[in-house]
């Protein structure tokens, strides 16, 4: 049943959000801490485990695949509902702060990626 996969996906998201909100309260911040990331981990664990086979294989799996494939259209809708006008109105300070933050972060991607690879490579040799 397709809905089994959709239900599994929903349960993962809800559990992740509850954990993320709880983490936020425990840390004293007004935000969900990693709820989506935790939900993704739960789904990865479920899809790699035999116990949940009936919820992730065959028709049930296509229920999850559907939402995964809807991701790009949803992102396009998300882009269309951004407050672009406010970003444009923010003036030079907002523009510069945003652009500079992105430029520096882009530049750091190769630096940190290499750092991640070095210990992994050593592990493979050993």
């Amino acid at each position: 049943m397709i809905v089994y996969g959709v239900a599994l996906l929903s349960v993962c998201l809800i559990l992740g959000m509850i954990v993320g909100d709880t983490l936020g309260v425990l840390l004293g911040v007004e935000a969900n801490v990693g709820g989506v990331g935790i939900a993704m981990l739960l789904l990865v664990l479920a899809s790699n485990s035999d116990r949940f086979k009936s919820l992730t294989h065959d028709a049930a799996g296509s229920g999850i695949h559907f939402w995964s494939a809807m991701y790009i259209p949803i992102v396009v809708a998300m882009a269309a509902r951004q407050n672009v006008a406010a970003a444009v109105d923010g003036g030079m300070l907002a523009l510069l702060a945003g652009v500079a933050a992105v430029a520096v972060s882009f530049a750091l991607v190769p630096v940190l990626s290499k750092m991640g690879k070095a210990p992994a490579a050593k592990g493979e040799e050993a």
């Binding site: 840390l27 993704m40 396009v76 407050n83 970003a87 190769p110 991640g116």
Partner: protein, 252 residues
């Protein structure tokens, strides 16, 4: 005309599916014919979405882009946080745990590095523009982290409304730039494997920016980048009004 309007408004989510579907079709058509596939169809679709959001915002004066246009209200639901998160989680289906473990440590470091670097850059620019108040500098720095961290930090440390608005604008610029810029710089920064995608997600942090930027680069990388990015705002909200504010206070 009234009948059409009423049908559109009553079925707004369905209208959104149809509208987005048409935009996707046009975008992939343009990507194929005009750029010979060099620019990803989804990149064009996202750019068209942002453009529509700009005109929607200017025309209605609202703050949710094209979703403030009554006939396209369903875009607000389709592109809202609930559906976005649901679809992002779905992309994790089929991901192998081993890929995640490989970049685990670098991913965690990238989240903290990303928050701190963006904050420092934003705060430095606030100082360049003549801000001397610690709360104001911190809030603008936090806005460069994400447009959620900015107001959360600003409200916690008592910054003025204008500064908070400015911090949201800085965060929006960042998010939009990541959406548009990622496919352009992907090759240059080696963004072509799960590990660098996790580092990328941690460094950029804006969930919307990372989600759209990776979708326009290579949809296979989405789950890895999204996984780390979703921790970023939480870490930012944690560090902004506390450690980062204390450090700025000590300096100004």
């Amino acid at each position: 005309m009234e009948i059409i309007e009423s049908v559109f408004v009553r079925n707004n989510l369905i209208v959104a599916f149809a509208a987005v579907g048409m935009v996707m079709w046009i975008s992939y058509f343009l990507a194929d014919r005009l750029t010979n596939g060099r620019i990803h169809g989804s990149a064009i679709a996202i750019a068209l979405g942002l453009l529509a959001a700009y005109f929607g915002g200017v025309a209605t004066g609202g703050n949710t882009g094209v979703a403030d246009v009554a006939l396209l209200g369903g875009i607000g639901l389709m592109g809202g946080g609930m559906m976005r998160d649901f679809a992002i989680v779905a992309t994790a289906f089929g991901v192998h745990l081993s890929e995640l473990k490989k970049a685990g440590m670098a991913g965690v470091i990238s989240i903290f590095a990303g928050v701190i670097v963006s904050f420092v850059v934003g705060a430095a620019i606030a100082v360049m523009f003549g801000y001397t108040d610690a709360a104001e500098i911190t809030t603008i720095g936090a806005g460069a982290v994400t447009y959620i961290v900015g107001p959360v930090t600003g409200e916690a440390i008592g910054a003025s409304n204008e500064v908070i608005t400015l911090s949201v604008a800085a965060g929006l610029v960042k998010s939009i730039l990541v959406m548009i810029g990622t496919p352009l710089v992907a090759k240059l920064i080696g963004l072509d494997n799960p590990q660098s995608a996790m580092v990328f997600g941690g460094l950029m942090g804006t969930t919307s920016g990372v989600a759209a930027g990776l979708a326009a680069t290579d949809p296979k990388l989405v789950p890895y980048g999204a996984m780390t990015a979703t921790f970023y705002t939480g870490v930012g909200c944690l560090l902004g009004p506390s450690i980062l504010f204390f450090i700025v206070s000590a300096m100004f």
